[in-house]
Symmetry: C2
Subunit: 208 residues, 2 copies
DNA sequence: CACAAACTGGACGAAATCGTCCATCCGGCA
DNA sequence: TGCCGGATGGACGATTTCGTCCAGTTTGTG
């Protein structure tokens, strides 16, 4: 959960832990909407009504805070997706899953992906952030691949293509869909991108 | 081509025009690799050996330069894709097109898309950049849709799905592929993402 | 209750970065 | 050849932003 670069949360009083969490949550929200570079520490401090010294009491520098923001978003998204994908047992469940994703897109966040927007900005540019983001996408792929593998075992889906490869392809479609949706300010490209990937899976299922 | 916010290129001497172009090209390269926000004017000025005043002689501010960078990248990519996609006449041509795209990915640019990386950072955050990027993706979709529509007319491809929709889906797959490739530092996810989209198209073609 | 550690507040310093200013140089043209 | 607008060089100012400092308050514990 924690990026580990900040202050050891174990020796924090409840009040301190709450303040720390509030900072991370506020930073995550601002960075999701404005971008990481565009979000200043002063903005964060103002938005969640803490002082500069509190921020630097819990995090050694901005990079450490960013690391925790990534960890928080990753944990949130992965937990959510795991709980959704655990119940994947049929092709129709995949459509329901897609509908939930579409419904979960936030217009007020400019149709951006909480993880993808961070990755796009930080991958290859922040040495500390990159592995965290790579691990997050790995977990996401594992969660989806787990669900697809179950479909394969239950005979709902063919095995010509690995569950891992299918999952990665779907995640790519998701990410591209997010970008186009943000650019067009419309969720339709997102829906279209997923549907294209799901059609491929459906075709593999029809071959049964 | 030009963003239009800078100095009118028509009343520029050849030397001035060359300097201006050199600034845009250098800025485009740096921004592609480091990101827009992370690229400072001092870096640009240093990298192409011009002085600060020259930069401000040709562009009123950084945003205007960014607009020209977007325009330059968009024009470059779209011209290239148009010339490639004009020759699209069969399913196999699509595979060749994919191979060219894979070969065109630059490891030294962190496997990032020249347009996608700009869009990810600027869309929804820079009022001037957004429409330029949206238009660029529209042109890209038109170029691809034109090729796919030709396949449909020639009976190579079914018309159950619009050429426009297919094209948008493929572009989404491309963009997602770029992001995952950059995150994993490997071109395989990119190839996988495109192949998933092309499989869908191939399935529509097989229905003939 | 007393004391130490955790917590809080906000002013301050230092560096980076955008943008300005002005003096000088070059190149075509009457 | 002399002139004038475009082109160039680099120092300078103003602002933003990360990070520091220290003084004061709250909380848990012997």
């Amino acid at each position: 959960m924690s990026g580990g670069t900040g202050k050891d949360p174990s020796r924090l009083t409840p009040r301190g832990a709450a303040t720390r969490d509030r900072i991370v949550a506020t930073a995550a929200d601002l960075m999701h909407r404005q971008g990481v570079a565009a979000t200043t520490l002063d903005q964060i401090v103002l938005a969640c009504d803490v002082s500069k010294s509190q921020l630097y009491h819990y995090f050694p520098n901005k990079d450490a805070l960013i690391a925790d923001v990534i960890a928080a978003q990753a944990s949130r998204v992965i937990l959510h997706q795991n709980s959704l994908l655990e119940q994947l047992h049929s092709m129709d469940d995949l459509e329901k899953w897609r509908d939930l994703l579409v419904a979960g897109m936030h217009r007020d966040a400019g149709y951006r992906c909480p993880l993808g927007s961070l990755a796009n900005e930080l991958v290859g540019r922040s040495g500390h952030a990159h592995p965290l983001l790579a691990a997050a996408f790995d977990s996401l792929r594992d969660a989806l691949a787990g669900g697809l593998a179950r479909l394969q075992e239950e005979g709902e889906l063919g095995s010509e293509v690995t569950a891992d490869e299918l999952a990665l392809g779907v995640i790519a479609a998701l990410q591209g869909g997010y970008l186009l949706a943000a650019t067009m300010q419309d969720e339709q490209p997102f829906r279209l991108a997923i549907d294209m990937a799901l059609s491929r899976i459906r075709a593999l299922a029809a071959d049964r």
